[in-house]
């Protein structure tokens, strides 16, 4: 029997029971559509997180205080902070692969000025900071290296802070008090929006790190050092280079572990996306349960069909069909049915995902892998759940099958 004949036979008997076929296929349609929608929503969320991670800055490298050992006992990361301004300056001076380096001193303070007051995060940084974060000043200007060296009391406001203190009015040139210390606002930053964790990145005030250290935090240790490379390809080399400089700066012997941690943007992105990726596949797995239920529906109908068509099977065997011919015929029937269901489900799923995206404003994306998986899985369902009924049909005794009423 040729494949063409097999397909013809299968489509004939599928068309003979249109309503039943349609209802059976519906199980697969719903299963595949559910998987596609779930994966699409999950991938949309993932894409959004990727976007917001890259909003941290391009080619970002982050140096944070690391774990130390005291008398052989490992301490948690950041327990003993040895990051200093000297480290940042040494890295900036010696590293050849880095475009920009900035120490970051973070503290929180109450800010009074304009028409109100606001509690916000204060970041003491160097002028390189905006390059690293890929951030621009909306009005006014950023402080300079001279401002840093002379510890000038100047501040650049994040968009949220500017809005809360000054409303719509221009803040540049205004006087504000940060923790009772008077500052001059010299610039306002572009709005950057929320980060991957949902925090408002614009709720911040930037100032020279020297000023922050002397006037506000009083600490000599840094929360972190940020750096960026010229290109993405430089990141691994840059990480090695930074590590060497930092170990030298901290005078670490060969046997000692790093007392700092170097992470790049990809590491951070991976951590964030792996969580949503697990979520996505979990959702898909739950949705695929309905695909299995659809498969059981196919098996059920195929079993009914075999019983109903016992006589037909007997006739076919009497005129020379082998067991394998009958097996193939029923198997092709169930596979054609499930693949058709898979294709319809795919279209429904993609359409549904787009509709959902349109209504809720979530970004959705249907990756090609999910499409292949859904169609492949539905075909597999057809084979798996069609095999038992088909084998039952093939094993029939022609005499009894012919006599079956």
């Amino acid at each position: 029997m040729t494949q063409k004949t097999l397909l013809k036979l299968a489509s004939q008997s599928i068309l003979k029971n249109k309503m039943r076929t349609l209802l059976t296929m519906l199980g697969i349609v719903i299963g595949v559509a559910a998987v596609i929608v779930m994966v699409a929503v999950g991938h949309g969320a993932q894409a959004r997180i990727q976007d917001s991670i890259s909003s941290l800055g391009t080619n970002l490298i982050m140096i944070t205080p690391g774990a130390t050992q005291q008398g052989g006992v490992s301490q948690g990361a950041g327990t003993f902070n040895r990051l200093t301004v000297d480290d940042a300056e040494k890295v900036k001076r010696e590293a050849t692969t880095l475009a920009a380096v900035s120490p970051v001193i973070t503290t929180r303070a109450q800010v009074i000025g304009g028409s109100g007051n606001w509690r916000t995060m204060i970041n003491g940084v160097s002028p390189d900071y905006l390059t690293i974060r890929d951030w621009n000043v909306a009005s006014g200007a950023l402080f300079t290296d001279l401002d840093v060296r002379s510890m000038r009391k100047v501040a650049v406001l994040g968009a949220t802070v500017a809005k809360n203190l000054f409303g719509g009015a221009d803040a540049v040139g205004a006087q504000i008090q940060i923790g009772h210390v008077p500052f001059t606002v010299i610039g306002v930053l572009d709005a950057k929006g929320q980060n991957a964790m949902g925090n408002d990145q614009d709720d911040v005030i930037l100032m020279p790190y020297t000023t922050a250290q002397a006037r506000l935090s009083g600490q000599t240790r840094l929360g972190q050092i940020l750096a960026s490379t010229y290109s993405q390809d430089d990141i691994p080399a840059a990480q090695d280079e930074i590590r060497g400089i930092m170990r030298e700066s901290h005078r670490l012997g060969d046997s000692m572990d790093d007392d700092f941690t170097i992470r790049n943007q990809t590491d951070i992105a991976q951590a964030a996306t792996s969580a949503t990726s697990v979520m996505t596949w979990l959702l898909a797995a739950i949705a695929s349960v309905s695909l299995v239920v659809g498969g059981i529906g196919i098996m059920n109908i195929m079993l009914v069909s075999v019983t109903e068509r016992t006589r037909e099977i007997g006739i076919r065997m009497a005129i020379g069909a082998r067991g394998s011919d009958v097996l193939t015929q029923f198997l092709v029937e169930s596979v054609v049915m499930s693949i058709l269901g898979g294709i319809v489900g795919l279209a429904t799923g993609i359409g549904g995902a787009m509709l959902l995206g349109h209504i809720t404003g979530w970004s959705t994306a249907t990756p090609l892998s999910a499409v292949a998986l859904a169609v492949g899985f539905s075909a597999a369902v057809g084979v798996f759940f069609g095999y038992y009924p088909a084998r039952k049909a093939a094993a029939l005794n022609p005499i009894q099958a012919l006599r079956y009423e």
Binding site: M1, T5, L9, Q12, K16, R311, E312, G314, I315, R316, M317, A318, I319, G320, A321, R322, G323, S324, D325, P398, I399, L402
Partner: protein
């Protein structure tokens, strides 16, 4: 003349040759002897009627001759080929290439056109010789006089027409033997005679036919009657006063005309039920 034909037939390979065939069914503890040793030889060109009451074993003979079942004991040569000991697949191939089946209940595929039904056996052909299956199916239907009903479904055909489609399906593979199991069982008497006329016509063209029936009238159209009782052949002889179905049809028609002419018929139809 009859003996002359016999002489030439003796030289040819028998279509069927079974020897000492027994069939024993095991139902629980008890053994049922369906066939207790049957010998039968059918030569090319014969039209044999196998007669017997239900339970006589004639259906078992039919199933064994049709390669749907295998004998418990004994040998079966079909067209010179040993059949016993073949596996399921080989038996299926034998049925496809050497045999044609006609059943009592027509056994056509429902909601499938006449030509698709007739084409079906060719689709299971594994020899690769039957190429233009569509044309062969069409020719077989023309041969049984249904050239104008190719696209009709069984439900759109009369009983006689359905049986002719079934005969076309049995003929399409050009089998060595045509097996008909109560082919007139579901038909009225006139249609029965029509179907028998077709069998006789095909037999005259040289096709070997074996009919299982319990109706003595139908058996009279054969060239030879084999009677089975209790799993044994009790009678095997040529038909003495063989009936010709085509002639009977002519009589039927003229009787009908007379009956119509006499109106409100005084003469009852001369055909036995």
């Amino acid at each position: 003349m009859m003996s002359d034909m016999r002489g030439t037939r003796e030289l040819q390979t028998p279509v069927i040759s079974i020897q000492g065939v027994k069939k024993i069914y095991q139902t629980g503890e008890t053994q049922v002897f369906a066939l207790r040793g049957v010998d039968l030889t059918v030569r090319p060109g014969e039209l044999v009627a196998i007669m017997g009451h239900s339970g006589s074993g004639k259906s078992t003979i039919m199933n064994i001759l049709g390669c749907l079942d295998v004998p418990t004991e004994g040998t079966y040569l079909l067209d010179g080929t040993r059949v016993e000991g073949l596996d399921r697949n080989a038996l299926a191939d034998v049925r496809n290439q050497k045999l044609g089946f006609v059943f009592q209940g027509f056994n056509l595929l429902a909601r499938t056109s006449a030509i698709d039904n007739v084409e079906l056996p060719l689709l299971y052909d594994r020899t690769g010789k039957k190429r233009d299956t569509r044309a062969l199916a069409k020719r077989a239907l023309e041969r049984v006089g249904l050239g104008d009903r190719l696209a009709h479904q069984p439900s759109e055909l009369s009983g006689g027409q359905q049986q002719r489609v079934a005969i076309a399906r049995a003929l399409v593979t050009e089998p060595r033997l045509l097996l008909a199991d109560e082919p007139t069982g579901n038909l009225d008497s006139r249609t029965s005679v029509e179907v028998m006329a077709l069998f006789q016509e095909l037999n005259d063209q040289g096709i070997t036919i074996l009919i299982v029936t319990h109706e003595p009238d139908i058996a009279q159209y054969a060239t030879r009657i084999v009677e089975v009782r209790d799993g044994r052949i009790i009678r095997d002889q040529p038909v003495v006063e063989r009936r010709i179905a085509a002639d009977d049809l002519l009589h039927l028609d003229s009787d009908n005309l007379e009956a119509a002419a006499a109106s409100a018929g005084s003469g009852a139809p001369a055909v036995a039920a």
